[in-house]
């Protein structure tokens, strides 16, 4: 049996809602960045864009949405496929290990992004 102790909010509705709201934030962010790049951008204007407080907040919002979206999505995938049903008793070990690796990767990624945009 897979447990839900590592679910994002331990509540299906919250996870479901966060997944959808975060996808909209990410869509808006990548569309905005895509439009900027399509319009032609050089280093100076790219730097100026990311120096503005509004853009920093938008980027922070996007990375927050990314972390939440990735965690909920991967948690769902892991609890579907990396289970005792699929892997036998080793599933009890494999899933927590993979989850810890993913959490660490997401935290490191978030810290890295924050450092880049505020430095």
């Amino acid at each position: 049996m897979v447990t839900r102790v590592t679910s994002f909010r331990r509540n299906g509705l919250s996870d479901w809602l966060i997944q959808r709201v975060s996808s909209l934030i990410l869509l808006a962010y990548f569309l905005f960045i895509g439009v900027q790049i399509a319009n032609g951008i050089d280093y100076t204007s790219w730097r100026a864009l990311h120096d503005s407080t509004a853009m920093k907040v938008f980027t922070l919002l996007a990375i927050g949405a990314y972390v939440a979206h990735a965690w909920i999505g991967l948690w769902t995938v892991f609890t579907d496929y990396l289970t005792e049903y699929m892997l036998g008793s080793i599933g009890k070990v494999v899933r927590p290990v993979v989850q810890i690796v993913v959490v660490l990767a997401l935290v490191v990624y978030a810290i890295w992004v924050i450092q880049v945009i505020w430095s």
């Binding site: 897979v2 509540n11 299906g12 509705l13 996870d15 479901w16 579907d80």
Partner: protein, 235 residues
């Protein structure tokens, strides 16, 4: 002659399941898959084991995997099922096999029991019956017709992966049947019991359930209604 390949497994004597082939003379008739199984049992091999009862799509006993698609053997004609002059019959996927085409439905029934499939109403019972308006009664159409054959739940990957936690399409269709019932007073309690990451939200909208339901019902739509009710309840 129709080539029929049937899944055979007796846990008491066989180490592994195997497919056994039979040549069945259908006389060119468009028989139902159950008729072919009956012919095999009567004329070829009396040990072939399967469930059947009403033979007209009402009891839900003979849910089988027929040429890769779940369905009721008694109402699936050969013209719909046979591919390349071959009929392949397996038990419903994802459930433990008791013998040949008979599966252990305990997990399926445990999920059905979990949604408390009965009216809950604590107000004093009227002298005759609890009445509904025609409009309220109409809300149950497309829900009450389920015969619990398990074709939908056993075609659902989410149910294969988490049969102990995910209620499955059949159970959720019935959950919504009672949530939508104007005579039921346990709506909030029912929703509270479904508000975890597995019971409802493990549905990924794959819609295999809609594809295979022999009664033409739509569990995915019912699950969508439950999600909406959960959202309104939490808002």
């Amino acid at each position: 002659m129709l080539r029929v390949s049937v899944y055979r497994f007796n846990p008491e004597t066989d180490a592994n399941p195997q497919m056994q082939e039979y040549q069945v003379e259908t006389g060119g008739r468009d028989l139902m898959v159950l008729d072919v199984l009956e012919m095999i049992k009567a004329e070829h091999d009396a040990s072939v084991t399967y469930r059947r009862s009403c033979r007209e799509g009402v009891c839900g006993s003979d849910g089988l995997n027929i040429n890769g698609k779940n369905g009721l053997a008694c109402i699936t004609p050969l013209s719909d099922a046979v591919k390349n002059d071959k009929l392949v019959v397996r038990p419903l996927p994802g459930l433990p096999v008791v013998r040949d085409l008979v599966v252990d439905m305990s997990l399926f029934y445990a999920q059905y029991e979990k949604i408390e499939p009965y009216l809950q109403n604590s107000s004093p019972a009227p002298a005759i019956e609890r009445l509904q308006t025609p409009e309220d009664r109409a809300k149950l159409d497309g829900l009450y017709e389920c015969i619990l054959c398990a074709c939908c739940s056993t075609s659902c990957p989410s149910f294969w992966w988490n049969p102990d936690r995910f209620v499955g399409p059949a159970g959720l269709l019935q959950a919504y049947r009672f949530l939508a019932d104007s005579r039921d007073q346990a709506t909030d309690d029912r929703l509270a019991k479904l508000d975890d990451p597995f019971s409802v939200f493990r549905c990924h909208g794959i819609q295999n359930c809609v594809n295979v339901c022999p009664k033409g019902l739509n569990p995915t739509r019912a699950i969508g209604h439950i999600r909406t009710m959960l959202l309104k309840r939490a808002a």
